[in-house]
């Protein structure tokens, strides 16, 4: 069975600080990986995704993530966060024949101005 782990449940940063949110998954085969974001009062939306090819993927709003197959990881990064990045971030994966998306428990990010 596939699973996703997000080890940082709450992260508090000041504006301009660098961000890295951890995501590890458990599945032995080919995976598709996603980061979703939920801003306060809004619905979940896609930040970026990895299917194949270049393991460094870039998403919206300056976010990027790196797929490291040997570490079963797909960490999310941003070099300089803004107050508007305050949100809940979810890592997700789909794999296997059914490609049913499985989500991690999420990381709450608070950015102080």
């Amino acid at each position: 069975a596939q699973s996703v782990s997000q080890h940082n449940h709450h992260v508090i940063l000041s504006e301009a600080a660098s961000l890295e949110l951890g995501c590890n998954y458990s599945y032995g085969g080919t995976v598709n990986l996603f980061w979703y974001v939920q801003y306060p009062g809004q619905h979940l939306q896609l930040l970026l995704k990895y299917f194949s090819g270049d393991p460094l993927v870039k998403g919206i709003k300056g976010f990027e993530a790196e797929f490291i197959k040997s570490k079963f990881s797909f960490n999310l990064r941003k070099p300089s966060v803004q107050w508007s990045d305050t949100a809940e971030y979810f890592c997700a994966l789909s794999s296997g024949g059914s490609y049913i998306p499985t989500f991690g428990r999420g990381t709450s990010l608070i950015v102080h101005p």
Binding site: Q6, Y36, Q42, H43, L46, S94, S98, Y99, G104
Partner: protein, 114 residues
């Protein structure tokens, strides 16, 4: 384009009562998902439809939860009878190509069971 529509936005019921949620996916999206998101946790899949057929309902508590997607468009999720632990946000999502592509989420229905 119009997004995924869900109603109601909020619902408060007492335990052992029944409740139903409605979802209208983005036009043309074949795949529809219902997720349950308990406070402090990530979304957990309850059921996935492909058109009007069920792809996966392995995590749906079938003794109390039921879902249908008539004509492959709108969907309803029902809980009967509700328990305290059913308090959660129920999210509907749709996708044109299933899990191979991104999901489009609705705003969710926040259920409180008292």
């Amino acid at each position: 384009e119009a997004g995924v529509a869900q109603s109601p936005r909020y619902k408060i019921i007492e335990k052992r009562q029944s409740v139903a949620f409605w979802c209208n996916p983005i036009s043309g999206h074949a795949t529809l998902y219902w997720y349950q998101q308990i406070l402090g946790q990530g979304p957990k899949l309850l059921i996935q439809f492909q058109n009007n057929g069920v792809v996966d309902d392995s995590q749906l508590p079938k003794d109390r939860f039921s879902a249908e997607r008539l004509k492959g468009v709108d969907s309803t999720l029902k809980i009967q009878p509700a328990k305290l632990e059913d308090s959660a946000v129920y999210l509907c999502a749709s996708s044109p190509y299933g899990g191979l592509e991104k999901l489009f989420f609705g705003s969710g229905t926040q259920l409180s069971v008292l």
